[in-house]
């Protein structure tokens, strides 16, 4: 199990960052996918923005972007129609059979 998955199991959203070029490595891995530099693992900001969304049954699902770098899909809690670019936060992440992310729109 990777540090990314270990983190998700503890509701921690962590990613690897290159020690050489300082860029986030996404998807996370043990070496940088730009320069093959060594990495450190660090928490990702849980504040992001909405890229796109749709809805299945009563659940809104979406693509969210964090630190202008990492885009992931997850479910979206919202009480009104979302607007593209709207701010959101990651309120829960976990890893059961796969990664799971739950976002909430910020008013």
């Amino acid at each position: 199990m990777t540090k990314f998955e270990e983190g998700l199991k503890k509701d921690e959203f962590v990613c690897s960052e290159c020690l050489t070029c300082k860029k986030l490595v996404w998807p996370p891995n043990n070496f940088c996918n730009r320069c093959f530099g060594d990495v450190k693992w660090r928490p990702v900001s849980r504040c992001g923005k909405l890229v796109e969304f749709s809805k299945k049954d009563e659940t809104v699902f979406c693509i969210a972007e964090f630190e202008n770098e990492i885009r992931i899909m997850g479910s979206l809690k919202c009480s009104c129609v979302p607007v593209i670019g709207q701010s959101l936060k990651l309120v829960k992440c976990s890893h059961n059979e796969s990664e799971e992310f739950v976002f909430q729109l910020l008013i």
């Binding site: 996370p28 796109e52 749709s54 809805k55 693509i63 992931i72 799971e100």
Partner: protein, 369 residues
Amino acid sequence: MRKVALTGFGLTEFNKDDIAIDSLMLSAVKSLFDSAPNLSQKDVDVVLTSTNDNSKYLSSIVSEISGIRPKISHSVESLCNSGANSVISAFSYIASGLADVALVVGAERFDSPGLVLEWDKSRGQYKHPIYWSSMFTKSHVRKYGTTKEDLAIVSAKNHNHALDNPCAYFKKTYSIDEIMNSKNLTDDIRLLDCSMPCSGSAAILLASEEAMKKFTDSPVWITGIGQKTLSAGFTKNEELASMESTIDAATMAYKMAKKEPGDIDVAEVHDAFSICEIIEVEDLGFVRKGKGNEFVRTLYETNDRRINPRGGLIGAGHPLGATGMAQIVEIGQQLQGKAGKRQVSQARVGLVQNMSAAATSSSILILES
């Protein structure tokens, strides 16, 4: 680089039959040999298999049960464009002079493990393809005003075309209303906007200019190839209303073939979902960006079959590893003038666009008679 021709084709019916992957492939190989009286197993020096099935050593198994002892034999897997990529690999062996005659066979079972993209961390729990296609659809709707009816027209058109394809999974047509009223899978995707997983197989024989003379007097030449991989993860697609990998691959293929979009008489494009065909006809340059919906509507209203004449993936079914090859078989037959009721008149230049996993990769071939 030597010229390479497509010289023979084999297909099975696409259905939900529970058949082993090697048996499916053997059926397509038999169909190809049955239609090529001058072809002997001894002529074949490459056997490539393409599938998302988890079989091991499959190309050697298929070689053995087909009575072939090739020089080169291996599998090619790249999800939904495994088929086109295996044909391009065979092209490369022949063009380079490493081989003269290649048999390529693709197949999938209805329950393929390639249907769920569980390796993609960026998708979270949304691993099924309906989720990425919902994102593409929503984005195109927002940017270009594409409607649910526009989407339904793609499906209605391709089901109409499939009715004249004896190998197609679907054997019936649907009205636009029936498609729009089919089950909502998400807010943006209805059941009949989707291609269906199924069992099926397709086989193609490729040969050098010298070797092909034994097998056919109507060769179809591969004159353009373009391939592009952006990523494995869906969310690396920065622009959701376009397919960047298709744009890049098409640019390469047109350049190699010295052709332009206006030169293409007939095309098979990868309509895994209705929205895909609308985006692809734009990104292949057949129509200006944002006008794909109008273009497809005109095709439907005028019964113009030049896009997806066999019914595409939506009408013909989507046996992943066989899909790209079935697309190439269709364009090959069109350029030979042997497409029967599906024939597009005076088709001389054709294009195949086969993509994988939300267009994170695309493969394009330009074929000429």
